[in-house]
Structure formats: structure tokens, C-alpha cells
Assembly symmetry: C2
Homo-oligomer: 332 residues x 2
């Protein structure tokens, strides 16, 4: 098994990427790691600690977080993101992981790696934290701002298979993000998608409202990329705002600081529920090979978890299973 890792992308790159890769290479000796990065920056970090199954794959360019995605991938053919997606396309590696520019990775996934047959649009599918600690796969959160009903149907199928094979959920409950729980609610898009998802070989639990999403009412939440992105960023924003405000209250006086110290262990256990790092990265589902977006703020631990996830993605043959189910659906 061969996994390519982008050493240049993410807030803590390249150090955290290299550390995570070294840790993963030591853990899984059956995997051959291709670390994509600029030689002069990566070589010193590897010095003396590179396991035999990890090798540097030099690239000469880097796509920054602020760069316009499509232009960047067209101009920087030798960047870690473009090269990684190319290696997946050419089957020279079995998966690619990057914590870099999300838009550029989505664009390179679509334009360089390419879609798998039968899928019109790939979807970005992160795991949201839920109050029960189980997590929920949400797709799409922005690979395609606009969606047609058949795209949502494909998301439902891909999400269900991924949740079962990689996240280890038995008979994942698939929900459709909507503005009411009754059938017939929402837009023309959600109404038609509801009807289409009903005919899939998935455990469809119907419409799910944003209010209930965090409470673990489904394992896979299907939505168009615009709504999914709103949901993702609003969840981050509200949680951040509340926690900031609490922190300010906790440090206001000596007494509140003491009180906060007593509460700290409990709050930490809560923070770990909300911690995306435990949940690994977000796969781009619907491509011809596995491409995984690790969170921009990934540390070595998050990189390690993303590798674990990529292994399962490959081993459990997620893409073949999607193929098979698509064919079964087409045959009716």
C-alpha cells in the first residue's frame, strides 16, 4: 500500500506533517509513504529519523492558502497538491492526504485525479462532532455549491458506504438536511432528492433539521454544498463565540479563575468531544481514487489519524463498493 502525503500544506507545515508521517511510517511498516515537499525544507526535518518506508518525493512549488484555486493548480503543476492528485490518477499511489488549500485540493481532485465513473460531482465529507461522541458524516460541504437532486442521491450512496466501511458504522442512518422534518418540506431540490434517496439501498431516515443535527439523529447528513458549508462554518462560529465568551468570564477575577480550575477537567472532556482531530480528515468522495483533506490546523496527531483513515479507505475498497452499488441502482 502506498500513501502520498503533502508535507507543505497546513498551518503547522512542514514540521507537523513530517512528524505525523514519521509516526505513521513507524506504526504501519506495510505502507510505503511518499512525502511530497520541497527538498531543502523537508530534508533537514527528516535527518536521521526517516524510516525505510518513508521517502521524500521532491516538488518545486507550493500553493498558498490565499491563492485562487483553479488558477493556482493550472499554474503550479509541480506543487505538492497537483503532484499528489496526479499520483492518485496514475495509480502510482493508493491515496493522497493534504492539509493545504481546500479549494485547490478540490479543484485538483476534480480536474487532475478526475471523477469515478457514475458520479457526476465529488463531495467533500467531513465528520461533524455530535453530542453522543459518535460523529456524523456531512456531505457535501462545498466541493459543489450548487447541486441537482441526482447529486444528492449520489452523496447519500457514497456517504453511506464510507460511513460503514471507514467509520465502522453499521447500517448508517442517512438523513437529508431540510427545513422541516415532514416529507414534502423544503425546496424543489430537497423534495426531489427525498424521493430519489428513498429508492437507494441505504437506511434513509428522512429529513433532518439543522437544530437536531448535533444530537446524533443520523450518521450521514446529505446536503447541497452551499447549505453544508453554511452549516459547517456556522457550527464552528457559534462554538468558538460561546467558548471565547466563557473563557472571558472564567478569567475575570481571582475567584472565577479558581472556580474555572475546578471545572477544567470536565471542560476538557467536553472539548475532546468537539475535537475534529480525533475524527481524521474529510474525504473527497466520488473521485477515481482516495483523496483526503486534513484540517488546516492539523498537528502530527491529526496527520496520523488521517493516515489511519486513508488505510481503511483503501483496504475496505470503498471505491469498488460505490461502483457496485451504483450499478445495482442503475439496473433498478
Amino acid at each position: 500500500m502506498r500513501i502520498a502525503l503533502d508535507a507543505m500544506g497546513g498551518d503547522h507545515a512542514p514540521a507537523a506533517m513530517v512528524e505525523g508521517a514519521v509516526r505513521a511510517a513507524n506504526e504501519w511498516s506495510d505502507v510505503e509513504f511518499h512525502l511530497l515537499g520541497m527538498e531543502e525544507r523537508i530534508r533537514p526535518l527528516l535527518d536521521g529519523q526517516a524510516p525505510a518506508n518513508l521517502r521524500l518525493h521532491p516538488v518545486s512549488e507550493v500553493i498558498g492558502t490565499g491563492e485562487e484555486p483553479v488558477r493556482a493548480i493550472r499554474r503550479k503543476k509541480d506543487s505538492s497538491i497537483v503532484v499528489g492528485c496526479q499520483l492518485v490518477k496514475e495509480k502510482k499511489v493508493d491515496a493522497f492526504i493534504s492539509a493545504g488549500n481546500t479549494g485547490a485540493l478540490m479543484a485538483a481532485g476534480l480536474l487532475v485525479t478526475g471523477r469515478m465513473s457514475g458520479i457526476d460531482r465529488p463531495a467533500l465529507a467531513p465528520v461533524f462532532p455530535t453530542m453522543d461522541g459518535r460523529g456524523m458524516l456531512v456531505l457535501d460541504v462545498g466541493a459543489n455549491p450548487e447541486a441537482r437532486p441526482e447529486h444528492l442521491q449520489q452523496y447519500a450512496l457514497m456517504g453511506s458506504i464510507y460511513a460503514e466501511k471507514v467509520l465502522g458504522m453499521r447500517q448508517p442512518r442517512v438523513g437529508l438536511l431540510n427545513i422541516g422534518t415532514e416529507e414534502g418540506k423544503g425546496t424543489a431540490l430537497t423534495k426531489k432528492a427525498f424521493e430519489m434517496i428513498q429508492h437507494l439501498p441505504v437506511h434513509f431516515v428522512g429529513n433532518v433539521e439543522a437544530r437536531d443535527a448535533l444530537y446524533g439523529v443520523c450518521d450521514v447528513l446529505v446536503c447541497d454544498g452551499f447549505s453544508g458549508n453554511i452549516l459547517l462554518k456556522n457550527t464552528e462560529g457559534v462554538a468558538k463565540a460561546i467558548l471565547e465568551r466563557l473563557k472571558a468570564e472564567f478569567t475575570r477575577t481571582l475567584w472565577t479563575k479558581l472556580a474555572a480550575a475546578v471545572l477544567r477537567p470536565g471542560l476538557k472532556s467536553f472539548a475532546s468531544v468537539m475535537d475534529y482531530k480525533e475524527h481524521g480528515g474529510a474525504p473527497l468522495l466520488g473521485l477515481s481514487g482516495p483523496v483526503i483533506k486534513a484540517h488546516g490546523s492539523s498537528d502530527a496527531r491529526a496527520v496520523f489519524h488521517a493516515v489511519r483513515q486513508a488505510r481503511l479507505f483503501i483496504e475496505r475498497e470503498v471505491i469498488s463498493h460505490i461502483h457496485e452499488d451504483l450499478e445495482r441502482v442503475e439496473r433498478g
Copy 2:
């Protein structure tokens, strides 16, 4: 000035509605209050305390929270919601406030009160709490799940005028909910709406991401009803989930209970920032007269604030101002 109040709608109806109405009638002696409710239930509550400027307007039916909106308003012509909207249409009152079935109120607003000329779709416009305590008007949150660019343009215009006249914001900053801040981001809808809003006589600050919305980066946030509803319900859901979790932590042991007691005053001040009741109800903008949706869980204080808001809506001639600006925009 005449204001109609639905005594039958809301979780704490009719008691809280009657109490709020009595308080408002005592405060504003220049307002004539029409309390719409079932005589046998309202009369005992008013006994001996009804101010001279408050009179019971008997109705024989009530629309429940679970009823299908359009069917309910067609069948129950003598319900408080339908009668209230009818009174606004006939100019027999200057405004109508209800904490009842939101869908039924939106349907009756559209089908009974009717749209004002020049507006294609009314919008439901609640005030979201923001971290700076200022609040932000969001429209639409679900009166119309689907929107065309010209609808978003009309929302921007109506929202700006309402924020200025009723919420007292000078030169309100109008933002467009989108999945990126740069111009050209998002769907065909947001791209076209961006272009159209730029030509309005409003202070347009461009695209706003859901992550930043709570931080007070704009005063009026424009979006289609589906996205707005997702934003509203997700904000409620995330805040509720986090606060529940904190409460569980705070009551775990004797020590954490003591610690929580020290922190209580600060947490209370935080809770008041998040309290919708201070912000009054959500107007249905774009109708031929003022109709206000008070929160379903409104207590007497929330009803009182909704009346204050209705007074401003009428006094500041919001609808005439919208008319004037629409004409100015049409003349180019």
C-alpha cells in the same frame, strides 16, 4: 394607533399574551389594543384588570402548532391568525402580533394580508444575537425556501430600512450570506444577487461567511429562506447543545457545583446576550401592513417588547419608506 394581538398563540398562551397586552396597554395609552381570542378563555384572565384601551375581539377557532399551515388557514377562517391578518389587510388595525404557528402566520400574511406592491416575496426577519450585543437582522429565514436574485435584492432593501427605522441602526451594514468573502463566490443566485445589491441605496459590505456572522460583521444579513433557516436552527442547536453539556459538567460533583455558583453571575450576563426576548419578534417584511411573529416561547416581557417594536414599525412608516426606495430604484 391600533394593534391586534393574538391571545391564543405561543407556548405560554393565553396567560402570557394577556399579561403582556395588559402591561403594554398600561404603558401606551395612545394605543388601542385588540386582543384576539376565545371569549371563555380570555375573559377570566382580563377580569378586573383590563385597561380601557384594551378590548377583547372574540374568535371561535385556534390554529395549533402542529397544523399544516395552508390547510389550517383555509379551514379556520375565524382563527386568531386569520382574523388578525384580515384586520391588517382591511386597515382596521395598524399592526398584528402573533406567537402562534409560524407557518400559518406566514401563509396568512401572504394569502390574507397580501404583499405590498413592488415586493415579490415577503421575508421573515428575526434578530440574531451577536457577540457585541448589537444584534443582526437576518432575512429570509424561511418564508420562502427558494429565492431568485431579485428577491434577495428586495430583502436587502427592506432589511436595511427596517434596521434603521425600527432597530435604530444608523446606515446599517448589509451583508450577503455566502460561502466565501470574495466577490464571485457561491452559487448563480448569490453571484447575481451580489451584483444587484451593489446598485441599491444601502450600505453593502459584500459577502459574509456563516463563521463570522455572530461577530457582528454586518447589521443585516441577506439570504434565501432555506439557508437562513439552516443558519437559524443550527445556531439554536449548537448553542443549546453546548450549554446543556456545560450544565452537566457544572452539576457533576459538590465542588463543580460550588465553582459554578461563583461563575453564575458572569454566565447570566452571557445568557442575556443570547436572549431573543430582548430583541422582540420577527417582522414579516414585504406585506401590505405590519405583521410580527413573536417567538413561540414568548413570555409577557417578550410580548411587551413585540408591541414596542410594532409601534416603531408603524410610527416610523417603514412600509412607506420601502415604497419610496423601491420607486427610486426602479427609476434608476
